[in-house]
Amino acid sequence: MKTIHNLFLSTAFAFLLFACQSNSNPDPVVPLAATLVEDLAAPNDNIDRTTGEIIEERPFQFFSLEQNSLVAENEDWDLAFKGTTIRVNSEKNVQAAVVSGIFEEITEVPANATFATDTETSFAIPTGSGNGWYNYNSSTFTVTPIPGRVLLVQTTEGNYSKIEILSYYQGNPPVEEIDPRTTPSGYYTFRYLLQPNGSTSF
């Protein structure tokens, strides 16, 4: 992972929204900051293309939304990345839901969002093209995050966060520049927003 840094992405639109609400709400509102995580390296296992055998098994990369950093497996991680698979920490009862919408416009955890954790047989964030966070384009052989897919995660601390994955390729290149044969994959760029007060609004 190259860099993890904060971005204060309080858009004018969000300001207006909160400004409106604050007229009727006496509580002071602190605008929440969206965090951008760039090039979280989580390459898939190295697989022999002739036999399908795994030549080199690679580890999952464990990430804590609360700490905004990679952590060890025995620490309080929320999400674990490897290839296109994203696990949630079921031992710590991390729950996730996949919803459709525009990141900025999701200001509340939707009532119909179905949260689940990973089980032996299923992932809270489903794998496979079109099922979870990505599409696999079989004509260009590229993995692209599905626009408008937002992952909602209830962290180890019980706080809600919303996540938008932006790229699966190193350096977050424009899609035209991705060559699936040469551009390193398994490099996640995503942004997320964590509501630290435990409420369901962002």
Binding site: G128, T140, V175
Partner: protein, 766 residues
């Protein structure tokens, strides 16, 4: 009025045998000439209800029994009707040539011979001149210049018609279906055009007579008819990319029998659009085609023809695999073979009855062997072989002068053996069809048909079609047709058993899904069943309803216009979708009837003879396509797009560009000029393909962004040819003269220049 033409079939039978010289001086002898004063040796004369009589090689008529009316007709000419008195007085009879393509005879539209102007459905006929003027060697090079047709590159050069892919277009060779598709595409580059007499292109569904695959339309390739006299022709064409195409045609005539032999070899170095990567865009390959056609008359009522064709293709190349850190170069070797055998027996016991018994047996196989260049170790090996047999009996019965009934029944067997399939897989099917051609009045003609298909794997299917033409005036006629089309699930969709070892996913044909999943379950590989294969139901045929309507207008002696509008509503399109999630995180897929697609558009063709020497023609096609499911999702606000600044918004209906690889606008302008000083024919064509959706860029998999389109382009093509007095034919020219590179179309190599010569050896010796 003589319009329904069972009788034209006799004409063909007569043509099969060299016409005997009519002996004896005949007082009533007339001569049938064309407008230039040349005799028409294949004209026919018919008195009342007597059998039609052919003229001799000099256009002279035989002696006739007297009657009331005399009809004089010949293919490609306006029929003349005279009273017996007029006939007696005439010395010579001049037949007017039919303008443009309207006089062309079409056999595939009704399975009987009818001229284009009598057909109530949109048909294009490309005769040998039009084929020659393109300078094309392979079928794709001819079809890409036609209005409303596109060639797309997907596992071969596939045809696109009325916005539908190659999967939904039936390709016939002399009326018999050709097999051998890779991922649904029939590769048109497999067909050499050197000995094609003409190509018929029917638009709109024809499942009512042809059954499966005839959904968007039918292309019938008609090989040259047996020669009238013996010949030996040698031809040689040379092209850019070190492409050589020698060919030999031998025609032998012996009494009532003719034999035609055709050999064609094609060799090319291929081309490379991306020299920076290992391997070529098109690998070097060579292909050999051999064809034999024997036909003759067993008795005056019985004729036989035997057709055999063999095709053999080899290619080799390199491919880079593995990651950039650890590149592995693979050597590829591919082989493709195709054999067809097609005997046809025609029996005409009576003027009003014709029985045709025909069979087509085909073998198609492919083999691909890729190995690591360094170690020679096998990387992948795939083979595929398909067997197809069809036998059919067709009965044509002329009920009356204005009604022709066609009844057909047939049986077909198909079998596939391949690396990706279990055991030997076999389909059996049977079908019956009936067609009624009827001219209820002078101005109206109707063709209606119904076909029932019975299939061992997917059940049965009824396909009706009705079409009609109304002659508003002598020069203007309106056509309309409504028909059903279908495409049966293929072997892949039903019986595939494929495991991609590298990425760990499985694909099961619909009939194997249940078994496949339970096997994976036994191995403990299934994490979660997404769809219970037991509840999947049977895979149904992909079906369509289509309407085609338009008009043909002969503006004047020199200009004509044809217009056709169409709409295809296609349901039950088959797609893959995951049925189970595996413990590895990968999926197992199977095939489902899911999508509904609409394609609609308009096609216009116009021709004008500007002067004796100069002809101009132009075509335009408008195409609109959409996936109904995508439209629904967009309307429900479920589809989003994201720009480079990571701003996400909802996709609107106006963003949606329909199906990928469809040009909304396309067209052509063609100029034909006969230069009299040198006696050469010039043909200059500009073929336009408008911008089309190439690939998804923004991750939502639909066409909804400017960046997802490939630019439109124009291919400027030129051919010049000359036939010398001794029969030697010379040609030269080029295609894509502007050398427009189109990376979105890997089948476009850029500028191609060519030279060709044809030597009629037997002529030259004599």
């Amino acid at each position: 009025m003589f319009r329904i033409n069972l009788i034209k079939l006799i004409l063909l039978l007569f043509l099969v045998s060299p016409i005997p010289v009519w002996s004896g001086v005949n007082k009533t002898e007339k001569i049938i000439l064309d407008e230039k004063g040349n005799p028409i040796p294949f004209a026919l004369v018919k008195v009342d209800d007597q059998p039609a009589q052919p003229v001799d090689e000099e256009g002279k008529t035989p002696s006739l029994q007297s009657g009331e009316r005399v009809l004089i007709f010949a293919l490609g000419y306006q029929t003349q009707q005279l009273t017996w008195e007029e006939w007696i007085d005439a010395q010579q009879i001049i037949l007017e040539e039919k303008s443009s393509q309207l006089g062309e005879v079409v056999v595939s539209a009704t399975r009987t011979e009818r001229s284009v102007e009598e057909l109530p459905i949109p048909v294009t006929v490309l005769n040998s001149e039009k084929i020659q003027e393109t300078g094309g060697i392979r079928l794709s090079e001819i079809l890409r210049e036609q209005t409303g047709l596109q060639i797309s590159s997907d596992h071969g050069a596939g045809l696109q018609m009325q916005g539908l892919d190659s999967d939904y277009i039936l390709i016939l060779l002399d009326g018999e279906p050709l097999i051998g598709r890779t991922a649904g595409t029939f590769d048109l580059d497999r067909i050499s055009v050197s000995n094609i007499d003409r190509i018929e292109i029917l638009r709109g569904p024809s499942s009512a007579i042809y059954g499966s695959e005839a959904m968007a339309g039918v292309v019938n390739i008609i090989t040259k008819s047996p020669s009238e006299k013996s010949k030996i022709d040698f031809s040689l064409r040379q092209r850019s990319f070190n492409t050589w195409n020698p060919g030999l045609e031998v025609g032998l005539v012996h009494k009532n029998w003719t034999t035609d032999l055709f050999l064609d070899h094609y060799k090319t170095d291929g081309f490379d659009l991306s020299p920076e990567t290992v391997g070529q865009t098109q690998n070097p390959y060579q292909a050999t085609t051999t064809q034999v056609k024997i036909s003759g008359e067993i008795s005056p009522k019985l004729s036989l023809s035997l057709f055999g064709r063999g095709y053999l293709e080899n290619s080799d190349g390199l491919l880079q695999s593995g990651s950039s850190a650890d590149p592995q170069v693979l050597t590829l070797e591919n082989e493709r073979q195709d054999f067809n055998l097609n005997p046809t027996l025609r029996f005409k016991p009576h003027e009003n009855w014709l029985f045709t018994l025909r069979a087509m047996t085909s073998w198609f196989s492919t083999l691909s062997d890729s190995r690591f260049q360094s170690s020679g170790k096998s990387f992948d090996f795939q083979d595929f072989s398909q067997f197809y047999h069809r036998s059919e009996l067709q009965t044509d019965y002329q009920i009356s002068a204005n009604q022709l009934l066609t009844l057909g029944m047939g049986q077909l067997t198909e079998a596939v053996e391949a690396t990706r399939y279990d055991d030997n897989n076999r389909f059996d099917a049977g079908y019956v069809f009936v067609q009624h051609q009827w001219d209820p009045g002078q101005k109206i003609n109707l063709v209606s048909g119904l076909r029932a298909d019975f299939h061992s794997q997917y059940g049965q299917r009824l396909s009706p079609k009705i079409s009609g033409q109304y002659r508003i005036s002598e020069n203007l006629s309106w056509q309309g047709s409504l028909g059903a089309g279908f495409k049966a699930p293929d072997f892949r969709q039903l019986l595939l058993n494929f495991n991609n070892a590298a990425s760990g996913y499985y694909v099961f044909g619909a009939t194997l899904a249940e078994e496949g999943i339970s096997q994976l379950q036994e191995q403990g590989l299934v994490a979660q069943i997404l769809l219970n294969p037991k509840n999947l139901g049977e895979l149904k045929a992909e079906t369509s309803w289509a309407i085609n309507t338009g008009f043909r207008w002969k503006v004047n002696q020199h200009a004509s216009l044809q217009v056709n509008a169409f709409r295809n509503n296609i349901d039950n399109l088959i797609e893959t979708a995951p049925i189970a999630q595996l413990v590895t995180g990968q999926n197992a897929f199977s095939y489902f009837n899911v999508r509904s697609v609409i394609t609609q558009g308009l096609e216009v063709d116009a021709q004008i003879q500007l002067s004796e020497k100069l002809r101009l023609s132009a075509g335009y096609a408008l195409l609109d396509t959409r996936d109904q499911e995508v439209v629904e999702q967009i309307e429900n606000g479920e589809v989003f797009k994201r720009n480079d600044q990571n701003q996400t918004r909802k996709v609107t209906r106006a963003d949606y560009g329909g199906l990928f690889n469809r040009s909304r606008h396309s067209g052509n302008v063609k100029l034909n000029y006969r230069e009299q000083f040198t006696g050469t024919d010039w043909s200059l064509r500009a073929i336009y393909r408008g911008k089309f959706g190439f690939a998804d860029r923004n991750g939502n998999l639909i066409l909804d962004d400017e960046s997802e389109y490939a630019d439109g382009w124009i291919s400027l093509n030129f051919t010049t040819s000359k036939t010398l007095k001794n029969g030697i034919f010379l040609e030269a020219g080029g295609t894509n003269l502007l050398n427009t590179a189109t990376p979105a179309e890997p089948n476009n190599p850029g500028r191609v220049l060519f030279l060709g010569i044809k030597l009629p050896i037997l002529n030259l010796i004599n």
